[in-house]
Symmetry: C2
Subunit: 417 residues, 2 copies
C-alpha cells in the first residue's frame, strides 16, 4: 500500500510551526510496510485542499491528513473529505456525549463550536480523541476514473499530542484491519557507533530483509535501529520482532542500551531509582546539561542529590576539592582532574556515585596538545574511580557538549552494576 501525508494549516506555510507530525507518521507508516510517497502542506483553503487530496490519490491508496479539524471557520478538513469521498456530515450522538463528558471533567461549558465537532461524515469510522475535543475519522470511497478500487482518507487533529495518541490507539488498529495484519515494532537505541558503521555491521541482516523491516536512524549523536513486523497475528509479529532484536544484539550488542526506545537519561535514571543508588555530578564543559537531562525525569529527586557546575578553576578547588597542584600540573582538562572531580563530589554529597566531566567544547580554546573535542569523564563508584578519554576533534560546541553528556550516561550504564 502507498500513502501520502497531507498537513493542513496556514501557520505551517508561514513557518510558524515545524512539521513534526509528518516525521512521526512517516516512521509509523514505514514500520507497517506502507510506502510514503509524498508529504504535502496546504493552507486553510478549501479548493487547494480538495485538489491536493485528488492529486495524492492519483498514486496513493491512503491519504492521512492532520489539522483543520478544530471548531473554527478556518477548519474545513471534514467538509472537504466528504466532498472528495462522496459523503456528508451528520451529528454523531455518541461523540456529542463524549465531548460533553470531557468538558464536564474540565468544568467547561459546551459551546456551539463544541457541538459542531460532533458533526462527522455519515459512514466514517470515528477515532476518539483522548487528549482534546476534536475527533478524527477514516472514510473510504471509490478510486474514481471507472476503477473498482477503493481509496481511504484518515483525518487526524493537528496538535501532536492528540494526533500521536489517536494514531497509536485508533489508527494502528484500523490500518491493521485494512492491511490484514498485526504490527509490532521496537526501537533499539545505541551509543558509541556511527550510523554508517551501524548499517555496515547490520548489513548481513538488513540485506534482502522484508519482514521484519530494519531501519537505522541517526539523531543528536546517537543512532537507533527500528525493527518492525506485520504478521497475521500479534503473537507471530512479536516473535518475529524479538527474534530480529536478538539478531541485532548479536551484531552490535555492545552498543545497545535500550530495546524499547527509552533514551539514555531515562534508562540510567530508572536504573538508579530501582536500585536506590544515589548520585551527584561535577560538570565543567557541559555547564549543567547532565543535571538538566537527569532532572527531566519526574521523581528523580529520590536519587539525584546535586550537580556542581564548576566552570572556573577556583570553583573546582572550592567545591570539589580538586588540588591546585593537579590543575597546575595536568590542567583542568585531564584525567587527573576528572578523577578528583568525581571523587570530590561523591565525598561531599555522600552519594553512592560521583560522575564528572571536563573538556574543551570549542569552537576555540584548543591547543596543539589538547584539541577542541577532548573530553574526560570520571566515575567514582564502589571502591574504584575510573576515567574515560574522548578525543573526537570535532569543532562544534553543541555536538561536543551533547556527546559529553551522553558519554556520562554511558559511563554510568556500563560501569554501575
Amino acid at each position: 500500500m502507498k500513502a501520502a501525508i497531507l498537513t493542513v494549516g496556514t501557520e505551517i506555510l508561514f513557518g510558524e510551526i515545524t512539521n513534526t507530525n509528518s516525521v512521526f507518521l512517516s516512521r509509523r507508516l514505514n514500520d507497517m510496510g506502507i510506502d510514503v510517497l509524498y508529504h504535502h502542506t496546504v493552507g486553510d483553503n478549501p479548493r487547494r485542499l480538495a485538489e491536493m487530496i485528488g492529486i495524492a490519490f492519483q498514486e496513493s491508496d491512503i491519504v492521512i491528513t492532520t489539522g483543520g479539524l478544530g471548531p473554527t471557520q478556518d477548519d474545513m478538513t471534514k467538509e472537504i473529505a466528504c466532498q472528495v469521498m462522496g459523503d456528508h456530515l451528520v451529528m454523531h450522538d455518541d461523540i456529542l456525549d463524549f465531548i460533553r463528558n470531557r468538558l464536564l471533567a474540565y468544568k467547561a461549558e459546551m459551546s456551539e463550536n463544541n457541538v459542531k465537532q460532533a458533526l462527522l461524515p455519515s459512514r466514517c469510522r470515528v477515532f476518539f480523541n483522548d487528549a482534546g475535543t476534536a475527533p478524527g475519522f477514516a472514510l473510504d470511497g471509490p478510486a474514481g476514473g471507472g476503477s473498482t478500487e477503493k481509496r481511504w482518507i484518515a483525518c487526524l487533529p493537528g496538535p501532536p499530542k492528540e494526533m500521536t495518541r489517536m494514531f497509536e490507539k485508533s489508527v494502528v488498529p484500523w490500518l491493521e484491519e485494512l492491511t490484514d495484519g498485526c504490527l509490532v515494532y521496537k526501537e533499539i537505541r545505541t551509543f558509541g557507533i556511527g550510523e554508517s558503521d551501524l548499517e555496515t555491521a547490520l548489513l548481513p541482516i538488513i540485506d534482502g530483509q522484508t519482514d521484519p523491516t530494519i531501519a537505522t536512524y541517526a539523531k543528536n549523536g546517537e543512532c537507533s535501529v527500528r525493527v518492525a513486523s506485520k504478521r497475521k497475528s500479534r503473537e507471530e509479529a512479536e516473535r518475529a520482532v524479538d527474534e530480529m532484536v536478538d539478531q541485532v544484539k548479536k551484531y552490535v550488542g555492545k552498543f545497545i542500551y535500550s530495546t524499547d526506545g527509552e533514551e539514555y537519561p531515562l534508562v540510567v535514571g530508572n536504573k538508579l531509582m530501582s536500585r536506590g543508588l544515589t548520585i551527584a555530578a561535577a560538570e565543567s564543559c557541559t555547564g549543567g546539561m547532565f543535571g538538566a537531562a537527569l532532572t527531566d525525569i519526574p521523581g528523580i529527586s529520590a536519587v539525584f542529590d546535586r550537580s556542581l557546575v564548576t566552570y572556573s578553576n577556583q570553583a573546582k578547588i572550592d567545591e570539589l576539592g580538586v588540588r591546585p597542584e593537579t590543575l597546575e600540573k595536568y590542567g583542568a582538562v585531564s584525567e587527573q582532574t576528572a578523577l578528583e572531580m568525581a571523587e570530590g563530589v561523591r565525598k561531599k554529597a555522600g552519594t553512592d556515585i560521583g560522575i564528572s566531566v571536563t573538556g574543551i567544547a570549542g569552537p576555540d580554546g584548543g591547543t596543539e596538545e589538547k584539541h577542541v573535542g577532548l573530553v574526560y569523564i570520571g566515575l567514582s563508584f564502589g571502591n574504584q574511580c575510573i576515567c574515560r578519554k574522548i578525543d573526537r576533534r570535532i569543532k562544534e560546541r553543541q555536538r561536543n557538549r551533547r556527546h559529553a553528556v551522553l558519554s556520562m550516561f554511558d559511563m554510568i550504564f556500563r560501569n554501575v552494576q
Copy 2:
C-alpha cells in the same frame, strides 16, 4: 508573487529527518511578501519530482527546491530542473575552480563526483556554496500552455547550514532583483506576554498593514515579532523597519529584550561580558538548565563562575548555606529559600551576581498551598536581594522548567543595570 517549497529526499519520507528547511524558507519568503502556497516533499524519484514541479507551477511563480544536488546517483534535481525548464547541463569552469580550491583548503582530492558538481544548467544563475561543495542555481523558463509569463526555479542544497547561508548570501539578492525591491527584516524578541495578548496589543499597527509586514511567532514559552519591509532602496526599507520597530516598542516595549533576534541567554551573556560582571547560579527545579543555556555561549567562562544544582535540601544547606530553619519554616519552594540561595551562591563564589531558582516543576509534587508551577527566582546584586514569584499553575514539567530558566534571564536583564 507566489511560491512553493519542494523538498527532495527519500530520507524525509522515511521520517529520518525533520524538515526544518521548509520552516526557514517559509519565514524568509513571507518576509519578502512572497506567498508560500504549498510545501511538498518527494523522494529521489525523477518522474515524481518532475510531476510535482509541474503541479507546483500551476499556481506558483517560483519553486524553491532543497536537496538532491549532491554528487551521487540518487541526486537528480539538476537534471529534472533542466528537463522542466528546457535547458541542459554544461560544465561551468568557474565552479570547477571554486570546488578545486575548496578541496585544496581541506587537503582533499578532487574526485570524479566532485567534477560532476560543476555541471549546471547552461543559462542558470549560479549560487556559490560557502559551506559545502554542491553549488545551487536559479533558472527561468516559460510558464507553458501558450502563456508568455515566466516561471522560476531555484535549487538549493539540502544540508540546512549550506542552504541557509546560500539563501541569505545569494538567493535574497536574486529575489530582490526578481521582485524589484530590497528586503530588510528584524526579529523582536519578547518575554512575559502570551501570543494572543501580543497580537491584541499590536492589532492597531498590524491591522491593514502591508509594508512593513508584522507577524508574531510563539515558541517554547516566548513570542517574537517579525517586522519586514521590501522597498526600492535598502535605506528606505531600513527606515521603514526601524520606524515600525519603534511603533512596536511603543505598544509592548516593556516585554522586549532584543530587536535583532538574539535569544535571552546570548543577550544576557553579552551584557555580562561587556560589563565584566561575574555571575554564579543556584538551581533547584531547573536541574542545571540555566548553566547549560549560559554556557552555550563561547567565551562565557570570562564571567560565569559556577552553578550549584542543589536538588536535595541537604545540598541547599551544604552548598549554599540555606538555613535549616528557613527550609523547615517556609519550605524549599519559598521566597525566603530563593533569597538565601541567591545570596549564598554569590557569597561563596565571590561574584557580582547571584541568581537562584526553586520551584515545583511537576507533574506531581504540588499541594493545595503550593501548586505545581509555583516558582521563585532570587537575585542578589549590588546591595539588594530581590525575589520574583511565578504562579502559572501549569502541570507540564518541561514547560515549567523552560519558563523558569527564561525568567532567570529576564530577572537579570531587568534588574542588572
